[in-house]
Subunit: 222 residues, 2 copies
């Protein structure tokens, strides 16, 4: 296959194929060669033209997913008729309910051996997702009296740091039991800010994702 005249399409093709390979074999067990073998004749040179390394591909796969997730976050943020608290609840519910989460937890990259990915998740959470999506909702919540804080920016950061990083079973290898305990502490923390927004359904979904991740890691360790 000759090099595509539309680099966007080539990049998307590489990311589609890479994501499927990561899903099937796990991130750690997929090599760049594996990805090339499934690219229908695209050369090694073409892939290295766009990506420096396998980690680079994972970052791009993850960026593309973030972009989709951000569309959902923006839609909830801008949805009329909901209070700040209701929007926060909807965001948590929708975020964990998205079917793509099953795929992400199946890919199960090892954040322990991948500090760039961890660092990028941490900075993206605090410097992009928190101010762009959670902050405006908390500001609305202060106005409609559904959130209790004088520091909306910092509360947005703290909530998202806890939800995206600390409660993420992929980062700290949490068991289902631990995910349950973290969820309960998260609930108590939120209530201190007037936010009774998590429920049993969310907890069960989070435990389901934890279990998907645990099984993927186990099969990847074999």
């Amino acid at each position: 296959m000759a090099r595509n005249k539309h680099p966007e399409e080539t990049i998307n093709l590489i990311l589609d194929v890479a994501f499927r390979r990561f899903m099937e074999k796990g991130y750690e067990h997929t090599s760049i060669q594996d990805i090339i073998d499934h690219l229908g004749g695209l050369s090694k040179g073409a892939i290295y033209h766009h990506f420096k390394s396998k980690e680079d591909i994972l970052m791009a796969v993850s960026d593309r997913m973030t972009a989709k997730s951000n569309q959902m976050l923006a839609a909830i943020r801008d949805c009329p008729g909901l209070s700040g608290k209701e929007k926060l609840k909807t965001i948590f519910k929708e975020s964990i309910n998205r079917p793509v989460q099953n795929d992400i937890f199946t890919v199960a990259p090892n954040f322990h051996s991948n500090s760039k990915l961890l660092s990028s998740l941490l900075h993206e959470t605090i410097e992009e997702a928190a101010p762009d999506y959670i902050l405006p909702i908390i500001e609305q919540g202060i106005e409609d009296c559904s959130v209790k804080t004088d520091y909306p920016k910092q509360l947005a950061e703290l909530i998202l740091l806890a939800a995206n990083v600390w409660m993420n079973p992929m980062i700290f290898d949490s068991s289902e039991k631990e995910t349950y305990c973290k969820f309960m502490v998260f609930d108590q923390m939120l209530r201190g800010f007037g936010l009774d927004i998590v429920d049993k359904e969310m907890l069960e979904r989070l435990q389901e994702l934890t279990s998907i991740y645990t099984k993927s890691r186990q099969s990847s360790a074999r």
Copy 2:
């Protein structure tokens, strides 16, 4: 200088010199050659025998400081006559008051460009410091009714994640104003668990450290 027969001493010498160079020039502006030039004749080979890179040296410098800090944490944890809540308060106060903190904030490594350092701080906080030092104190606090939680392990993690990572001005380049706002949100979070343990003196010390860091970064950017 011939290679030391006591590798411990050589390592300590390298770390002492490296730390002083980092202090004087900032981490980013110190090269391995700078460190070698101040090692009184120790060869390049000798330093590379112990450390692969400048980042490796920074990790070792940071590990040595963590070991000293852990002695202080253990002493407070094991101190008789204090309630769980009082021990937590003492730990925060002593941690930020230690004079070595001024040095650490002066070295001012850039965590943005140093994802390994960030990842190691994050994992150390959650997987070592929280279970080893904060968990036993919270368990004591549950018994003496000074801490309100059913999940001591997870609360220990969340508190330390907020204090060590989120409120650390070196990680998210916080200004003094932002440090103030984070501190206020941290206080509100802690109160949700029965913990009224932070005070104005701690806030002022944290702002002082933030200001040391900000100045170091500015002079390092010049």
